[in-house]
Structures are given as C-alpha cells and as structure tokens.
Amino acid sequence: MFFDFARRNVRLHWLRSLLAVLGIIIGVVTIVSIGILGNSLVLAISDSLSTVGDSIIVTPHAGGMGFGGGGSTPGLISDRDVEQIRRAVAPQVTIPVYSGSSRMKIGTEDTVGVIYGLKPDDIPILLELSEGTYLRGASSAMVGARFAKNNDIKVGSRISVGDKGSLRVVGILEERGMGFDINPDYGIVVDSRWFEDAFGQDGYDLVIVKVKELTRIEEVKSDIERQLNRRETVVDVIDTRAILDTILTAFGQISTFVTAIGGISLIVAGVSILNVMLMSVTERIKEIGVLRSIGTRRKEIRRMFLYEALILGVIGSGIGGVLSIFGGYAISIAMLQTTEYLFVPSSLIYIAYGIVFGIGTSLLSGLYPAWKASNLNPIEALRHE
C-alpha cells in the first residue's frame, strides 16, 4: 500500500520525477562508461604486453661499478656469469642476449633500428615466425613486423648495418607487442656470432631465463641472486610477472580513481533526488498530517517516502544500466577503437555496480526527506495549508 502511494505520487509529479530519474540515468551511465573504459584499458594493456610473466630478466647492475667481479666488463654480463646462471637455474632455459642499435640501409633508405644478437637455437623459444624461416647462415637476419612494414622489407631483402656488413633477410617475425625483455618489432634479429664479430662486444646486455613452472619463479630468482650477487651486486634480477602486476595494479588504481570521479555525477543526481523528495514532503505536509491522524505510524510514513526514492532510483538505474551498454560501446570505440573488451564479465560487472550505486544513492538521498516527513508534528501538519 505504501508502495502504491509512492507510485501514485511519482506519477502525479511525473515531470519532476522525470528530471530526477534523468539525473540518476546520467550518473549511472557516466560511472559505468568510465568504469568500462578503465577496465578495457587495463585489458588492452595486458593484451598488448607480450609477456605472460614467465620470464626472469637478468641485467647488469644499474649504477654498479663492476670492478671485474667475476671478470665482467662494466655494464655487461660475461660468459662466465651466463654459465653460472645457466647452472643455477637448470633445467630452466637460459638465453643470453646482445642488444644494440645501429644505422641501417635498406636499398637506398637510411634508418635506425634495434639489433638483437641471439643464438640461433634460442630464437624459436622467444620469437614466432610469420614468414620465411629462422636464421640460416651467419649473415642472415630476421626482421620485426613493424620494422619490416615501415621499411618495406620482404624475405630476401638486404640490409646493410652501418659499416659492419650486409645481411640477408630470411624471415619476418610475428608482431610481439611491448615486452619487458626484448622488443624486436622495431628492429632486427641476427646470429650472436655475427653480432660479436660486428660489434666486438665481450659481454651480454641481458639474460632471459624462461621458467616453465610459474610457481618456481621466486625460487629461481633467488637462486640466480645467490649465485651472482654473493659478494657484491653484479646483476639486477627482475621477473616479468612482478612488473606486470605493478603495471596492472597501477592502471587498475587509475581506472578506479577515474570511476570515482564519475561517481560525482551520481552525487549530483542524488542531490536532485533529495531536492525532489524535499519538495514532495513540503507539498504534502497536510497530507502527512491526515495520514498520521488516521493512524499511520512514523515508520510507515518513512517507508512511503523511501519507496518513492526507491522507485526513482530503480527506474533511473535500470534505464541507466541499459544505456550504459551503449555508453560503454561509444566510449570504447572513441578511445580504444575496439569493443572487444566490452562484452567481457569484468567490464559488464560495472553495469551491476552502476545500478547498485544508483539505487543506493537514491535511497540515501531519500533518507533525510523521509525522516523529515515522519517527524512532522501531526497537528501542525494538519493545520498546514
């Protein structure tokens, strides 16, 4: 019955109710859309990261003096160190990597690109091929997808690397996305022996350890550290999962924060409901007096007004929930140029959040007016015109 009363009253003042509902709709659509955008962003980023978190990356200790500890050249990892790592982590795979950059000439075009020197056997573990073959012969090269595209490189093309000689392209790599280990998309991959000959480098720039059992990452990491950093810190050891976690947590926090800002629009909507409800109370003072005089209890008056807020909230949040699918779609297209992260549970859950917050805000805004209505003095209310 109180529900029925509330319903009639919402209908009677439909224009006013409509405006309040509109406020809630906008509020819900805003937070849901922003929430979905944030979530899609996180998903998109984790997708664009090549790493699934199964690697440990060993780099020369940043800022380390490298006083020949273990005989390594400052800023590089010596063969001996690599062997120590290999022994420490066995049976996990250890991949030493040379990396550098150089001017390159493709046909008549001059450009700059990254060069990675890898042992031919290690390449298939790290990289996928899209065309051609893996390295064959010392002066062959594989080219990153973006680099190939930007410079119009095909299997069979030739690349001159500075004054170091010329390479024949035997394969094009699959696009890999941003990685924490190597980023060959914008560069080329060559045989490590060719790299040694060409650049005369007597140490590796980094060592990648692939860990098959993800649960053992911590263990393997400390094995390496124990082996190499016994006397002084020679290398830095990081695992990609930790970086991944840090990045995703950071983005998650940003997206939560932005969603909270969207929540301000819900607060505005709440204020508009508060306003509508207070008007409703003021307008019906006499009626409340009558209701009280014929035996309506305070809590029943309260309930009546809360129902009114609830009706506005449910309608607003419901419509808002539906519209926010479109809102999420639009904002995904606009910001990410894709909707592939829209229809996934972690995005859609924001619709539920939005609806819950919408209804919650409405009820919260109805509390004070309901309290006010139920505490009116019945006689004064009756006398009110």
Partner: protein, 246 residues
Amino acid sequence: MEEEINEICSNGSIIRFREVTKVYPLAGGDVRALDGISLDIAPGEFIAIMGPSGSGKSTLLNLMGCLDTPTGGDLCIKGRNTRGMTDEELTVLRRDHIGFIFQQFNLLPLLNALENVQYPLTLKTGGRDCTGRCREVLAAMDLDESLFSHKPGELSGGQQQRVAIARALVNDPEILLADEPTGNLDSKTGTAIMALLDDLNRNQGKTIIMVTHDPAIARYARRIIRIVDGKISSSGGEAAALANVF
C-alpha cells in the same frame, strides 16, 4: 508507579482528563491553551464542546485523539494512561480506537472514495483485501455506489464528509472525534451529517465528541462542555447548556 498511573484510569470512563494542562512554549511567552482540565466521558456519550475562538477546543480534541500529549496531568483513553506512551503506541491507539472527522474533510486527494475508506483498515490489517467491509460502511453513509470510484475532488462537500465518516468508522473505533464536522457544509447537508452521527451514537453506541460553534448542531449532543480560556466553565447536561446558549 506504573500501577498508580493506571489506577487513575480505572474508573470506567472511556476518556478521562485529570488536571490536564497544555502549554505551548512561544518566544513571546508561553500560551496556556488548556489549564487544569478534569473531565470524565462515559462510553456512549455524545458531547459537544463549545466556547469562543481560541479557548482551547481543538487542543482538547487533539489530546483526546492522541495527536498531541499533555504538558501536565493524566489523560486516560479506554482505561489506559497515555503518559509515557511512545509515539508508536499512541498512533496504534489512535488507529484502532479513535476515528477523526474534520471540518475540511481531509480526504487523501490521490485516492478515490473507496480507497480512502480502505486506507485505515489496510493500516490495521496489513494489506488484506477489504473492499467488502469498506463498501458496506460507505453504503451505510448513504453514499451512492456510483460515487465510490470518484476522487475527493469530484465529490461535493457533503459527499466528502460522508466518505470521511466512513473512513473514521472502518476500523470500528469506540470513539469518534469531530472538529466542526458541519463547518464547511450548508445547513441542510449539515443536518444530514448530524443525523448520521446521531444514528451512530444511538444505534452503535459510539462515543462521539464534537467541537462546534453552532448551537443548532450542538443540540444533537446530549451533553455540552463549555470552555473559556482553557478552562471548563460548564460541563452540565443538555438542558443547562442550551439554556446558556439561548
């Protein structure tokens, strides 16, 4: 203490005032609306309360209806002392035992005639369907069936007051309180309404307390209580009171 409070109430009166005062604290000084009222009303009485404007008639009626509480003294309704009752208890007492009839009718504008009558019953029974009883009560007020679905705005004053009386009666209260029930009606309609109240008093034994300015209306009552300045100046029988009026 509890015992003592209730002792005061157990004399068979349906309504009992013992040294009741009502003071409205105002910035410019307190207003003593009722000043030491003592009054016993027996079940089945039909009482008119008369007195000059501002003398405290409405205040007295509102106290009887538990819409307000005395500043001092004891007020008993149906043998129960209202002192110390919570708002909730007072409301339930009012809902189940007291019916209000107003000068302004005070029907709920959103509800039609039948729904207005249903409302208090639903409050009491918690929403069970009760159209049968409500139609009965409405019909007993000589309201035409065809008007049951009309909103208050579509009814005449007399018709509205009939609906209001039906609403007051639907929970079968022992006490009916009416503040100038004919004040907004022409004399012919007023007479018809009074005939209804008279019938309720005589044939259903309802205790009726009515505030009125109109001696012709007061004549329906069998006792007249006169109030001046918040004090009872006479609370005699019909003859004495009317002698005072004319």
